[in-house]
Every structure is written in C-alpha cells, then in structure tokens.
C-alpha cells in the first residue's frame, strides 16, 4: 500500500475524533436546552413539554414512526400528481414505496431503486429528506432517554420525545447539515431544481445529465447515518462526491456524530468515564477491523492483481475506498463510494461482519450507543455470574427483567438475519435475484438481510432487490430490526429509572477501564462470531479460499 493512502486514512480519522469531541459538547447543549423566558416563540418550540414515562416515550416513538411510514409511502406513490417533478416520473409501485418508506423512517436507507430514474425532487426533498433528519433525531432521542433513565433516582420521567425531537432537529442537525452542504456544493455537488439536460458529447455521444437538489440531501445522509444516495450508485457518483475533498468531508461526516454519541451518553447518564470507555472500545474495534480490511484488499486476488480497481473511482483510490467501506458499515450509515461486491472477498466479509456485530462499532447515531448498552448489560451480568454477585450497572441493580430485555434486543437482529437468509438461499424467490453462483451469491443474500436488520442500508450490489419478495421481506426486517431493539431499550431505561442507586463498594464491577473493555469486546465478538461464523464461512471465507486455489 502507498504511504499517501495510509497518511490520509490516519489524518481523516484524527480530524474526525477532534471534531467529534466538539460535536459532543454541542449535542449535550442541544439536548439540555431549556428556554429561559416563558411565553416566547422559542419557549413554545423547546420549552413547554410534560415529562413522559417510558411507556409514553415508547408509544410516541412508535406512533411517530408508523405515521411517518404511511405519509412517506403515500408521497412516493402519488409523486406523479405532486409538484417538482420536471421529468414527469410516475408514482412508485406499492411494494417499492413501502420498502423505501420503512427504509428511510427506520434510519436504514436501503435502496431498491435508483433515485435518478425513479424519484421526483419532491419525493427526494420533502419525502426522504425529512425522514433523514427525523429518523436520525429519533435515534439520538432514544439514546438520551436511556441516559436519563440511568441518571434518574426513583423517577419516572425520561424526558419528552417531542421536545428532544425539536431540540435535535433545530439546534443540532439542521445547522450542522447546512455547514456540510455548503462545503459540498463548493466542491461541485449539484444543488438545483432544473430538468435533466441533454449533452451532445465532446465525441458526439449524447448523454443525459441528471440534475436535482443533491447537496442538501447528501449532507444529512452522511451526518445522520442514513446513507440513502440521491443517485443509485450513491457517493461513487461524481455529482454526489466529485473530489478528494468532498470525499474527505463525507468520510468525516459519516463517523462524526456516531463518535460523539458515546461521549454524550457518558455526560447525560452522569458517567463520563463509562462514556469514554465505550468510545475507546469502539475505536479499538474499528481500528482493528480497518487494518484487517486494508490488508485483505491490498493482498487482493494474487492471480489477478488488476482487479483491485473494479468498482472503485480513480479520484479516491483503493485505500480511501476501503476506509469508507469499513466506517460506513461499522457506523450503520450504508453509503458507498466503491462497490462492496467488488472488494476482495475478505474485505467484503469484514464489511458484512461490521453489520453483523450489531452495529455497535460506533453504530448509527444514538442507536450505536443504545445497542452497545445492551451488550454492556450482558457483560456485567456475565461478570456477576463469574464472581457470584448480583450485577450492578452504574449503581443500578441488574435483575432478571433487565437481562431478559437486553437479550431480546441483542437477539432480534440475529434471528431476522439468519431466518430470512436461510429461507432466501433455498427458495426460488430468493435465488432468482442473485447474480453470482455459489459462495458470492450467499454473501449477496446475507448482506442484504444483515444490512436491513442492522438498519445499515448499504448494498452488496449484484442482488436484484427490487422484487416483491425482497421488498416485503427486507421492509419487515428493517422495521423489526429498528423497533424490536428500541422497545426493549426504552423499557430498560424505564426500569432503571425507577431504581435507586446503590453506593459502589469494593465488590462492585466497574464499567470503565481495561477489564470491562476487554470483557465487553469479548461479549460482542462471541455473540457475533458464534451466531454468524458458520454463515460467514460459507460466504466470504469460502470464496476467498476458492480464489486462492485458482
């Protein structure tokens, strides 16, 4: 590998960490913002809210998501009659509209379509753009509710969901998106409402130039760990990601808020050290996975070295494409700047593993932390079993009900991935969409369901996912993969909120430091590896071994 690529990979990660610590402060401010003067407009927008117990908070999240899906699906299906449709694109069929609506509301942003030939500007802006913001804000809000539950002493209030939504959207996500969007436009990301142009071509080869308000969408797509591209090929498209610098900005934007979240969680839950420990655990795992992926990609196919540039863009090169593939899968973003299907089998396998680990190596905005929290609860439980002491987490006793909820939250994505992948790999419905036979084909199917259940949304490519079977099955996986984790998390927050902190003693297992970190990594890897090792062996590993045998 080239020294330049290694230099820029390290530089981008360093800048991301630096900016994430600043963002964490901003986010803490936004989440605790309470206006001083009652009666003013600001006070009405951010102030006058009743506290909610966990049931009301959860019901609000669920109803808000459900109505969001209905409204978004309706917009997509009726776009033919709506304004801002210069290309006169017809309404989206029901199965694709439902899949896309669930996808954007659950912060997955799986795309079974290509924006440039399917969606009007109205659908992109008002439909998808809105949910890019609101789904990201929902994720962070759930994390904030959890943190409050831990900090509370025998109280019921987890905050107010509508207040959190307003604070996160107006005081944090919108201003940050404006900054990123302006930077992107300056690099050449398009932002207009024109009809597509027909270019005559320098060598007389006519080409249609797609247009649209892309920059505004792409800023929040990266910041909110959404990942849904304006164009089908996502951030590989030169209009979405035209230069080295636009690529650098987007790379940092992908990981920025996910990196800030564990720190914010630490502050809000009154356990800064625990927050920093979570950050370090996530960063170490990310660095190891990135290293492995780089080695795998640059070793490539020994008998066909040229293949390394397949599916990659020259303005990014292989190193920065691998960096992107790792952080986008680790952080539940799902955008791509190179085709994951054309990475070397093991580098593709690591992208897949990142998702299968439960989207907790930073993970999505908010969701990475509350996902990791479930693993942390399991960790203190296991540590408690080892010494025969009832486990505590930040002063709160962890009892049977808490463990049950944590196990449900951890298991739901795994069950979805394995059940649907198994069904798809033996049925005509599933296999008809696969483009490669054998091991690579299995990877395509596994990747699709992992991406959906883990709310990542990146695609392995190759798989024709716009069929009735995949649209419905993936929509179901996305929905249950999102709310099947959020529900136990908020319930857990409610249970912990009602408990009183017990003072820590010499026998208390600390949830910061090296011992806890090692055990936590162990639990994440054991759950991920034991669940998915057989499937990964038959997919990416088998393909790698067959490649070496050629």
């Amino acid at each position: 590998m080239l020294s330049g690529e290694l230099f820029w990979i390290c530089a981008l990660l360093l800048v991301a960490i630096l900016l994430a610590t600043i963002c964490a402060k901003w986010l803490v401010w936004a989440l605790s913002f309470t206006p001083k003067r009652p009666g003013s407009l600001i006070s009405r927008a951010f102030g006058d809210y009743e506290p909610m117990n966990w049931k009301t908070y959860l019901a609000s999240v669920l109803v808000f998501g459900f109505l969001g899906i209905i409204i978004l699906a309706t917009i997509l299906m009726t776009q033919g009659f709506l304004p801002l449709n210069p290309m006169n694109l017809p309404g989206v069929p029901f199965d694709l509209a439902l899949n896309t609506a669930v996808s954007f509301v659950t912060n997955t942003n799986w795309q079974a379509y290509s924006g440039e030939n399917t969606l009007s500007y109205f659908s992109q802006m008002v439909g998808l753009g809105t949910q890019n913001f609101l789904s990201a804000a929902t994720g962070i809000a759930v994390m904030a509710a959890l943190a409050r539950g831990i900090a509370n002493q025998q109280e019921r209030s987890l905050g107010n969901f509508w207040q959190d939504l307003a604070r996160l959207t107006f005081l944090f996500l919108l201003p940050l998106s404006i900054i990123v969007a302006v930077l992107l436009v300056s690099q050449g990301v398009i932002q207009n409402l024109s009809a597509y142009l027909t270019a005559t071509g320098i060598d007389r080869a006519t080409q249609i130039l797609p247009m649209g308000p892309a920059a505004s969408q792409i800023a929040i797509k990266q910041l909110g760990s959404n990942g849904g591209g304006f164009f089908g090929v996502n951030s590989a498209h030169p209009f979405e990601n035209p230069t080295f610098f636009s690529n650098a900005i987007q790379t940092i934007a992908i990981i920025l808020i996910p990196m800030a979240c564990p720190l914010v969680f630490g502050v809000l839950s009154g356990a800064r050290r625990h927050g920093r420990t979570l950050f370090r655990v996530m960063f170490v795992m990310l660095a190891v996975l990135l290293g492995l992926s780089l080695v795998a990609e640059f070793s490539g196919n020994p008998s066909l070295q040229s293949a390394i540039l397949e599916g990659k863009e020259m303005r990014f090169g292989a190193g920065l494409s691998v960096l992107w593939s790792v952080i986008t899968t680790a952080s539940s973003n799902g955008s791509v700047n190179a085709m994951i299907s054309s990475l070397s089998p093991l580098a593709g396998g690591i992208a897949l593993l990142n998702i299968m680990l439960g989207e907790v190596v930073f993970g999505g905005v908010g969701s990475g932390v509350y996902g990791m929290f479930l693993f942390a609860v399991l960790t203190v439980f296991i540590a408690g079993l080892m010494v025969g002491r009832s486990p505590e987490f930040l002063g709160k006793k962890i009892e049977a009900a808490e463990i049950k909820l944590a196990v449900i939250g951890v298991l739901i994505p795994s069950v979805l991935i394995l059940t649907f992948s198994a069904f798809a790999s033996v049925s005509k419905l599933g296999l008809n969409s696969v483009s490669h036979p054998g091991a690579h084909g299995l990877s395509e199917i596994l990747y699709a369901f992992s991406s959906a259940a883990g709310n990542n949304g990146s695609a392995f490519g190759g798989l024709n996912a716009n069929t009735k079977f995949y649209n419905y099955a993936l929509a179901f996986s996305m929905f249950v993969g999102r709310y099947g984790v959020i529900a136990p998390v908020i319930a857990l927050a409610g249970l912990l909120s009602c408990k009183r902190s017990v003072p820590s003693s010499a026998g208390t297992f600390p949830v910061s430091g090296v011992l806890f970190s090692t055990l936590l990594v162990g639990v994440v890897l054991i759950v991920g590896a034991l669940t998915f090792f057989p499937a990964l062996t038959l997919g990416p590993v088998a393909e790698h071994l067959m490649m070496l045998g050629k």
């Binding site: 809105t130 107006f170 404006i178 302006v182 932002q191 060598d203 090929v233 863009e313 392995f460």
Partner: protein, 186 residues
C-alpha cells in the same frame, strides 16, 4: 393515544416544512447565488453555448482522436449509471480484464489497472497518468500532431490523486479531450 397521534402529525408537519422544504430551498438559492457553476453540474459548454457534458461525469469516447476513459459497466449511461458488481474472484471479471488488455495489445500485467476495470459509478471521469501516456501515440497519429504537444497537455492537466503526495497522478479525461480538441482547432 389520540394526543400522541396528533402530536406525531404536528411533528411530521413542522419536520417536513423545515427539513424538506425550507432547508433544501434555502440551500438551492444560496448555491445558485454563490456557487452557480458547481451547483449546476460543472458543465462543459462550447463557444456556441451548446452543453457538451459535465467535467465531473465521464462520457463515451470512441474515436481515435480522443483519449478513452475507463470501462463503464453501464456504458456511460446516466439513467441510471452503474457498476459491474463483479467479484474480484469471479471468472467473468477475469475474462473481461483479459479482453480489455487485448484491445490495448498488451499483457494484463503491463496495462494500467484502471483501463482494465469498470468504475464504481460507471461515470468515472479520471484515468491514471500512465493510462493517458499509453494512449498518446494513437491520438497524435489520428490528429497528425507531434506526440510531444499532446504529452505537454496531459502533463499540464494531470494532478496528484492525493493532496500532499506527488504520486500517483491522475487526469480528467473530459478536460483532457476538451483541451486537445480546442488545441487542434486553433
């Protein structure tokens, strides 16, 4: 319950207005004022005000008078564009790579990899400096101009792939072809 539903609808309404209407429209107005060229697709426009393409999007060059870009799985179509998604280990990719090397009458190992592989977007406007150098003799003879002249243009337009590192270098094929066309017609 009814309270939650009405609160949800209100939140969706202000969310759509702020994030879905005001934010993108304000950004469009801002971009059209301060970054007009970039916001409209960095277009290539000739003296007669015809749109020839975009400097950012690769386009199809078939004539010997122009540098070829990278292979495109979607043949530089834009609605939609796309990649091959072929596995690096697949026979299909191996065959494609061998076939492309034959076009340049070179061994696979001796041809720059970017000319043998399809890009991720299907619209990659750039090729490596080596790939441009390789094509100079063909273009010089088709245009009946000295190779040195074309090589000079390639050198001028080439740029480092990564800032701060002088190598490897890449060059934008659309800019390059526009430049040699302009140079020849002078």
């Amino acid at each position: 319950m009814i309270k939650i539903i009405s609160k949800s609808l209100i939140a969706l309404l202000w969310g759509s207005l702020a994030c879905g209407v005001i934010y993108p429209l304000m950004l469009t107005v801002f971009s059209q004022t301060f970054f007009r060229t970039q916001a409209n697709g960095s277009l290539v426009i000739d003296a007669q005000r015809n749109v020839l393409g975009s400097f950012l999007l690769g386009q199809k060059f078939t004539s010997d008078r122009f540098f070829s870009g990278r292979p495109s799985a979607s043949d530089y179509e834009t609605l939609p564009s796309g990649a091959s998604n072929l596995s690096q280990a697949s026979t299909a990719l191996r065959e494609k790579i061998n076939e492309r090397a034959k076009q340049y009458r070179l061994a696979v190992s001796g041809t720059p990899a970017d000319l043998l592989t399809a890009s991720g977007s299907g619209l990659d406007p750039d090729i490596s400096y080596e790939s441009a150098i390789l094509q100079i003799p063909r273009i010089a003879s088709a245009r009946k101009v000295p190779q040195e002249r074309i090589a000079g243009i390639v050198r001028n337009l080439s740029r480092p792939q990564l800032p701060l590192f002088s190598k490897p270098r890449i060059v934008n094929v659309v800019m390059l072809n526009q430049a040699i066309e302009g140079d020849s017609s002078r």
